[in-house]
Amino acid sequence: MMESNENILEVENLKINFKTYAGTVKAIRDVSFNLKKGETLAIVGESGSGKTVTTRSIMGLLANNAVVEGGTVMFHDQDVLKMTEKQLQDLRGAKIAQIFQDPMTSLDPTMRIGRQIAEPLMVHKGMSKAKAMAQALDMMKLVGITNAENRINDYPHQFSGGMRQRIVIAIALINYPEILIADEPTTALDVTIQAQILDLMRELQNKISTSIIFITHDLGVVAGMADRVAVMYAGKIVEYGTVDEIFYNPKHPYTWGLLSSMPTLETNGDELPSIPGTPPDLLDPPTGDAFAPRNSYALKIDTEKEPPFFKVSDTHYAATWLLHPDAPKVTPPVQIVARQKQFAEMQKKLAAEKLSHPVEEEEERQ
């Protein structure tokens, strides 16, 4: 993948509240992350954890009752949160584009699809209709719509779910955006179609080197798509790292729970490890670690004080008191121990390959 170290987007201490009739919902509680050029960052978490709200703030698409309590979203040295509506309109669909979850409802049912794909070109680049339609046709071919010439004047209902999602992707990518936000783009699709769409996204990313923020709750999809992963829980990022670090060396008990509660095709046995309870009510977030009530590894301090981020490696951080030097040693669930073993093997192999180069010492905190 075409990665670089240049940060294209920096989100810093973002806090977003929603005013509702029942009170103030603290949906995003101090979230910071960055996105590098050409990489895919996956944000995982369950519904209500704040993944969608985070990305909506990047697009300037927050609902009317949302209040940004603090923080910045810097895109090329400009704070998106402070942009005027006019500036935001120039941003959306041109530099930052989004693919939504449901391809059935994100297309205009009364507009021919060629016109829908060409529209961003006409709006943002002032292109003539004929020229825009020609590019739209090329884009349709690129995203794999068969028989594109004949189908350019069809309406969305004439396409299957997978084809509609291809159209949505075509619309999002027609302006070669710098950032593509994909919010559960394959959740509504069948596995075989999902695999096709994911392949298509990877292929297009290589072609136009866009950065992708991929939101999903499906860890299988994350494993195949992401360069880096951020795990969100109750409006906060609780752990982030490279995809290997999160899947093979997770440190936060919530990540442990997520990874071990997903059966793989190899899983057998009587009981599936599950995370007990339900996510907290963000009208009144608990003091201390919000995950503590569901966490069988919770320490006393978890109910009193929120854990800061502890460094695991240069790229891997986790907000859990278990990483504090004074914390008692705990053994993660068996599934996680197995993953960690795999990680250790991989590290060894990597180290052996690097032997001829100056050795970069990776901190071992087991």
């Binding site: 069948d190 596995v191 075989t192 999902q194 695999a195 299988g220 195949g224 095709l265 899983t267 795999q342």
Partner: protein, 319 residues
């Protein structure tokens, strides 16, 4: 599981469920499927959207009247059953858990009355106290609080609602439950809870499940045997281990190769198998043939040797 001595609870043979019969837009949603479900097992029905898995479930529980075919439950023919008492017993013995926990509970009824509806219809409670006691016990069985009964569905989360749906199904002491995508609408951390509950209830109450889902890893985990549906036809049936580890039909192979696995190493090296429907289309007459023991594949007579060859390569004991 020993399938030689196991008792058949459900026998589906040549089930066809067509819609708009005789019209231009006739849909063969379920087209001649046959399978048996044994007592105490979980039979998983997998397939993509439009494969007919939900229609099959609904035809079996008699929400639709099948176009043709036979469905035997405990040996009694259900299709065209005239005996009202028997039909009522069937309706009681077979229950359903639905996919959408938001749409399947009446928002204007209290949870207590939702759960007790089947108890009332079947006159299972001797008195009001008995009714309340049963509801309270059911709520506790599914992991809810006994005083949740006085609340309305909107006061519950998705996972809790699905538990209410399970309690409602259990209220009439069924023997067989059809679970149609019962966890698809739930969050990952809640899915495992509900799956564990279903497994635990199966053990305690000797239930038999027909589990319909598109999440292949979850189906594999919960099912003893699996049937793969495509375009309304059953392409492969076998124990879940065998179907997943040694799939014989091209479609099953392609479907399994598309399942994303939460393992980045695996994902990097994964190769997806494309699907060429040549062994499914055309006008050859095909039926399920037992290739290896308890492992059935849809094949025409001239395709049988090919599947036997495949089974040999997979190290299966060919019949």
């Amino acid at each position: 599981m020993d399938y030689h001595n196991a008792k058949k609870v459900l026998e589906v043979s040549h089930l066809k469920q067509y819609f708009n019969v005789g019209k231009k837009d006739e849909v063969k949603a379920v087209d001649d499927i046959s399978f048996d479900i044994y007592e105490g097992e979980t039979f998983g029905l997998v397939g993509e959207s439009g494969s007919g898995k939900t229609t099959a479930g609904r035809a079996i529980i008699h929400l639709y009247t099948p176009t043709s075919g036979s469905i035997k439950f405990h040996g009694d023919e259900v299709v065209g059953m005239k005996d009202k008492t028997k039909m009522k017993q069937f309706r009681r013995d077979m229950q359903m858990i639905f996919q959408d926990p938001y749409a399947s509970l009446n928002p204007r009824m209290k949870v207590r009355d939702i759960i007790a509806e089947g108890i009332d219809i079947n006159h299972l409670a001797k008195s009001k106290e008995d009714r309340d006691k049963r509801v309270a016990e059911l709520l506790e069985t599914v992991g809810l609080n006994r005083d949740h009964g006085s609340r309305y569905p909107h006061e519950f989360s998705g996972g809790q609602r699905q538990r209410i749906g399970i309690a409602r199904a259990l209220a009439v002491e069924p023997k067989f439950i059809i679970a149609d995508e019962p966890i698809s609408a739930l969050d990952v951390s809640i899915q495992a809870q509900v799956v564990n509950l279903l497994k635990q209830l199966q053990k305690e109450r000797h239930l038999t499940y027909l589990f319909i889902a598109h999440d292949l890893s979850m189906v594999k985990y919960i099912s003893d045997r699996i049937g793969v549906l495509h375009y309304g036809r059953m392409l492969e049936v076998g124990t879940s281990d065998e179907v997943y580890n040694h799939p014989l039909h091209d479609y099953t192979r392609s479907l399994l190769s598309a399942v994303p696995i939460p393992d980045p190493e695996y994902e990097r090296t994964r190769t997806q198998i494309g699907y060429d429907p040549k062994y499914e289309q055309g006008d050859k007459a095909r039926k399920l043939v037992e290739i290896a023991e308890h492992h059935w594949v849809q094949a025409s007579p001239d395709e049988i040797p090919m599947y036997q060859e495949r089974a040999k390569k997979e190290g299966l004991k060919v019949l």
